[in-house]
Structures are given as C-alpha cells and as structure tokens.
C-alpha cells in the first residue's frame, strides 16, 4: 500500500473556532484508488475536516497535502478535484443541463455534461429547473457538477443524508462506478451501511479526533464477534451476567437494553434464555443481527451515532 501514490496526507491537523476545537490533531492517509470514509456523529468535525481538505477552510496547525500538493498552489489543484458540499443549493432557475454546463466551463478538461447527467440518471430532467427537483434529484445534480471535471479525487460530504432509498442506491452506484476507474474518493457519512458498501477504509471521528481506523471488516472484527444479540428483560441484568453467557466477547448497554457481540448467535441465545429463566426473569425484547460499524461506534464511545443523548 505504501508504494501507491498518496491522494491525501494530513499530519497534526488542528482547527479552532474561538473557544471550540473542531479538529484536534488529526492524521490521515488516503492512497490513490481508495474510497475512504469519515464516520462520526453530528458535530464530530467531519465537515470541518473535509472542508479543510477541499481548500475551502483555513486551518490553524498541521500539514495538508492533496494529490502531492499543498493548497499554496490552489487553482491548479482544483482542476483535479470534484467537490459536493453538504446540502448544496444550486441556482434555482437554471436547468439541470445549464447548471452542469456551467460547471464544466470552469474545468480545462472534463466529461461532456450530457454524459454526466446520464451517469447520475437525470437525462429525463435535463431541461427542468433545479428548484423543481426533489431533494434526491438535486443531490444527484450536485454530484453531476462534482463529476463533470473528470476529477482524480472526489469529495462527498454526507451525500445521501435525507434521501429516499432509490436515490441512495443510485448515488452508491455512481460512487462505485467512479471507484472502479481507479479514482479516489473521500466521503463523510453517518450511515454505517453506506460506509460498509462504499468504503475500502474508514476512520471514526469523535470530538475532532480519529478514534479508530481500518477496513470496515477489521473494525467490526475488533468487537470480538461478528454477530450481535440485543435484549431487554423484565429484571435489569448486570454486566457480569452478560459476560458470563456463552460466546460473548464484548458488551455495552444503553437504557435497559444490553448489546452483546457474539461469535455464534445460535449458542448465545439459548444460553441467555436459560440463564434468565434461572433468575426468574423473562425476555421483553430480543433481536439478533450481523455486527455493523454502528456497533463499533457504540462500543468505542458508549453513545449511539445519531442523536446526542
């Protein structure tokens, strides 16, 4: 991996807003051809980090190299990047084709606007004003604008937040297609399934710092078990009880609910039911599923990803 050229290299990045430290000593390496995900709850510093990488925000300390260059020689670098901001609004009364054509004109070389519009599936809407597009279609337009310069590195900041499932799928396909051409991509998201689908590697950010980094499989592997059992019981059980069950590697809880990382659900679930019965308690909730990055985040921070409670 070290032999591949670097797409993004960050060392000791710090960004302060008055009293708040938004990014607190962040290191990051993304190689070319990789799709890298920044995960974390709202306010974790994802957008600030990405906007520094995009050369939009200044930073206070550290080094940032994009495609082997610094932002000191900015405009040339911009020719090689595609950027979609979080919740972009484009000009209301320009059509899809006009908007993409406008963005194409900023780049010295790139793809034809019609080709990109087709790629994101907006060909039937190409003469529609941006203001008349639904949120999902508008986001596709923003991605089309980011792709029309045929970038080497694509930045997507929460590309599918608030979108319907169909639009999400479509955008995932666009990103996977982009990746298949050997291009690099950095995306932020708080959807764990999105990161697992799209990203070769992810970093989990909390309070402006990376608290875990690796492939999605690797991070899920750190839980000790690839499966999850969640339960609630009529009498609240303690951690010792949960850890004593067969096949349990790590446990976490919020409210009355226990979350167990296990190696084999089919062994743990009968053991759980038997143990509860022995204590005279009954199950009020039981769910089993494959472990996800969400579980990684909860086990690292003790908090759920969405919401700050």
């Amino acid at each position: 991996m070290d032999t591949k050229p670097s797409a993004v290299r960050v060392r000791g990045l710090v960004k302060r807003y008055k009293s708040l430290i938004a990014v607190n000593g962040l290191d990051l390496d993304v190689v070319q051809g990789e799709c890298f995900g920044l995960l974390g709850p709202n306010g974790a510093g994802k957008t600030t980090t990405v906007e520094i990488l995009e050369g939009i925000l200044p930073y206070d300390e550290g080094q940032v190299e994009i495609l082997g260059r610094t932002w000191a020689d900015g405009r040339k670098l911009r020719q090689r990047l595609g950027i979609a901001l979080q919740e972009t609004y484009l000009a209301d009364r320009l059509t899809v084709l006009e908007t993409v054509t406008l963005f194409r004109s900023f780049f010295a070389k790139g793809r034809s606007p019609k080709q990109v519009i087709e790629l994101v599936g907006l060909e039937e809407k190409q003469d529609t004003w941006a203001v008349r597009l639904s949120g999902g279609l508008r986001q596709r337009l923003a991605i089309a604008c980011a792709l029309v310069g045929d970038p080497e590195l694509l930045f997507l900041d929460e590309p599918t937040t608030g979108l319907d499932p169909q639009s999400r799928r479509r955008l995932w396909d666009v990103v996977l297609d982009f990746k298949s051409k050997g291009r690099s991509c950095i995306l932020t998201t708080h959807y764990m399934d999105e990161a697992e689908q799209l990203c070769d590697r992810v970093a989990i950010i909390d309070h402006g710092k990376i608290i875990a980094e690796g492939t999605p499989q690797h991070l899920i592997g750190t839980l000790g078990g690839s499966q999850v059992v969640e339960f609630e019981s009529s009498i609240k059980m303690d951690e010792a009880f949960c850890k004593s069950l067969k096949g349990v590697s790590t446990v976490s809880s919020f409210d009355k609910r226990w979350r167990l990382s296990v190696t084999a659900q089919n062994e743990t679930v009968p053991a759980l039911i038997d143990a509860l019965r022995a204590k005279g308690a009954t199950l009020t909730h039981l769910a089993t599923r494959q472990a996800s990055l969400e579980d990684v985040f909860i086990s690292l921070t003790g908090r759920a990803l969405r919401g700050d409670s």
Partner: protein, 339 residues
C-alpha cells in the same frame, strides 16, 4: 464553454426567469412615469368644479360662470352644502356682497377663486386698468415630465443595481452557492464580472425602453449628446453596481443586506430630487445632497437631456461617478467573502 460567457448567460437566465425582477425593472418605472406624467401633464386644461348657492342672484351668476369652459358650475340649495361629498373647490354665495367659501391650503382653490372673481367683477362692469393677454408657453425641457423621466431612470438604476447585484450575491452566499463555486477552479473575478456585464445589458435595455416611452408618449426630447448621456448613465450604473457589491461583500444574511440597501437608497430617493427638485430643501442641506451619488447622476442626466449640456459641464460628474465606482469595486473585491 468560456467560463465568463457561461456565468454571464446564467445571470441573464436567472433574471428573465424571475417575473418579479422583470416587473420591477421594466414595468414599475413605466407605470410610475405614466401615472405621474398624466397627473401633472396639463394643469391648465382641467375644468374647475364650483358651486353657486341658490338665492336671488344665483341664476345670473350661474349664467356668467357657465359661459367659461374652464368651470363646471352647479347650484346648491344652501350654504356649506357643497362640501359634503361634492368635490367642489369653491362655493359662491351672498347677495349684494359676494361670499367666497374655499380652503386656502388647496392649491387649485385660490386659482378658482381668482378666476371666478374676475369673471363676476367684469360682468358687473369692472374695467381692467391695463388690458392683458395670456400667451401659454410649453418650453422644451421645462415640463414636469421632463424633470421626472431622468429621475425615474436614476431611481431605477439605483434599485436594480442594488437588488440585482447586492441581494443576489448575498443570497448565493447564504445558500452556499458561493462556497461551492469557490471550491471549483472558477476564477473569482469572472463571477463578479458576470454580474457587472449582465447589469450593463439590463441597464441598456431598461434605459432605452424608458427613454423611448418618454419620447413617444410624453414627447420628451434629448437636447444634448446621446453619447454623453450613455457615458454618464453607464458610469452611474457602475458606481451603484460597485456600491452594491461592496454592501454585499461580507454578510450572508439577506435581511441584513435588505436593510443596508434601504439605508443607502432611501436618503437618495428622498433627497436627490427624483420626484421634485432638491432646491426645496433648506440651503444648509444642499452641500450634503450634492455629494450623494444619485444627485450627481440626476443633475448630469437632466443637464444633458433638458439643457443640452456638453462635455464641459458633464465631464466632472462623469469622472466622479467613474472613480467612485472603481473605488467601491476595489473595496468589494478586497473584502469579498466566499464562505
């Protein structure tokens, strides 16, 4: 595929696809010119409504006054009856002694009283000591409409520059369009220049439409050189475009910029002599009024259109507006915030 051309096209499209922008730029000034132009077109032509109170002399007075085409004469049964919804400017009553009842603060009532009194006195045998004859003159460039049209053009230049550039830039910043654009390789100067170029096109169209309207509907004539009129108008528009860009250079709050725009525009609309001459204001205010950019523009435009002013009188205002515009642009670009 030239970026400046594309940005310019985007400005033009955004403008003509916004019906309210079209109305405020083209429709509103023409409606203003029409309404005010007609209201003040011909002050002498209007017939004056007067009332004669019934009595022994009433029939005779009605006969005398009715002979004058400038009066509409009505008989009323009793004194003061005519004020009640009658719209009368003057009531004529009394018997041996004529009694005129009118509101002295109404500008037409005094004229009506003088006219009626003359008619009745002459009919009763008064001889004028010196014979008189009225010669009505309508000098070119001295009518109210001649004064008004440059005022409306100037007002329009100010408001369309301010709203068209100032408001739209702040809205683009608020909606993070500026941020997105600044993340592309677009040259920042191209974006700002596209507003200026589009403004020039709209300016030309709005001034030409309003001028044609004035020439054909109100017979306004441009006495001076068209070249100087264009130069001064463009310099004025650029000064206000620069001012608008400066106002919009930092804020991302559309309410703030609306407030700033009104703060800049209102004093100029009131003081600079859009609708009436600023000579009506007290003398100590004049130096201040004359320093306002709209006053400089309007005085120069009126001098060219109505007095045929030439290079000598116009070059000063032209230079001031041009330099002012350049300074505002410089400041705007220096302070401009993209995020």
């Amino acid at each position: 595929m030239n970026p400046l051309a594309q940005l310019f096209l985007a400005r033009i499209r955004e403008f003509y696809r916004e019906p309210s922008a079209l109305f405020w730029t083209y429709g509103f000034p023409i409606l203003m010119a029409l309404a005010l132009g007609l209201a003040f077109k011909d002050g002498s032509g209007k017939a004056i409504p007067v009332a004669v109170v019934d009595g022994p002399f009433a029939a005779e007075r009605v006969a005398i006054l009715s002979a004058d085409p400038g009066l509409i004469v009505k008989t009323v049964a009793s004194e003061n009856a005519s004020w009640l919804g009658g719209g009368m400017l003057l009531e004529i009553g009394g018997e041996e002694q004529l009694v005129y009842r009118f509101d002295p603060t109404h500008p037409d009532a005094m004229a009506a009283k003088r006219k009626v009194d003359d008619l009745l006195q002459r009919a009763a045998g008064r001889r004028d000591a010196v014979p008189t004859k009225d010669q009505l003159v309508q000098a070119r460039g001295s009518r109210y409409i001649d004064f008004l049209i440059p005022g409306l053009i100037g007002m329009n230049i100010v408001s369309s520059s301010m709203w068209g550039i100032g408001y739209n830039i702040v809205e683009a910043r608020k909606r993070r369009v500026l941020k997105l654009l600044s993340a592309t390789p677009m040259r920042h100067g191209d974006y700002l220049l596209s507003f200026i170029l589009a403004r020039l096109v709209f300016l030309l169209s709005e001034v030409i439409i309003l001028m044609l309207f004035a020439v054909f509907v109100f017979d306004v004539q441009i006495q001076g050189s068209l070249l100087w009129l264009s130069a001064v108008t463009i310099a004025g528009a650029m000064a206000f475009a620069g001012l608008a860009m400066f106002i919009a250079s930092r804020t991302n709050n559309t309410e703030t910029v609306s407030g700033l725009i009104n703060l800049v525009m209102l004093p100029m609309w009131l003081l600079s002599g859009v609708f009436f001459a600023y000579s009506n204001f007290p003398g100590w205010l004049h130096p201040l009024i004359k320093a306002l950019p709209l006053t400089i523009l309007l005085d120069a435009m009126r001098a060219i259109i109505n007095e045929g002013a030439g290079t000598a009188q116009v070059i000063g205002p032209f230079a001031i507006l041009s330099i002012g515009g350049a300074v505002f642009f410089y400041l705007a670009v220096k302070f401009f915030r993209w995020t």
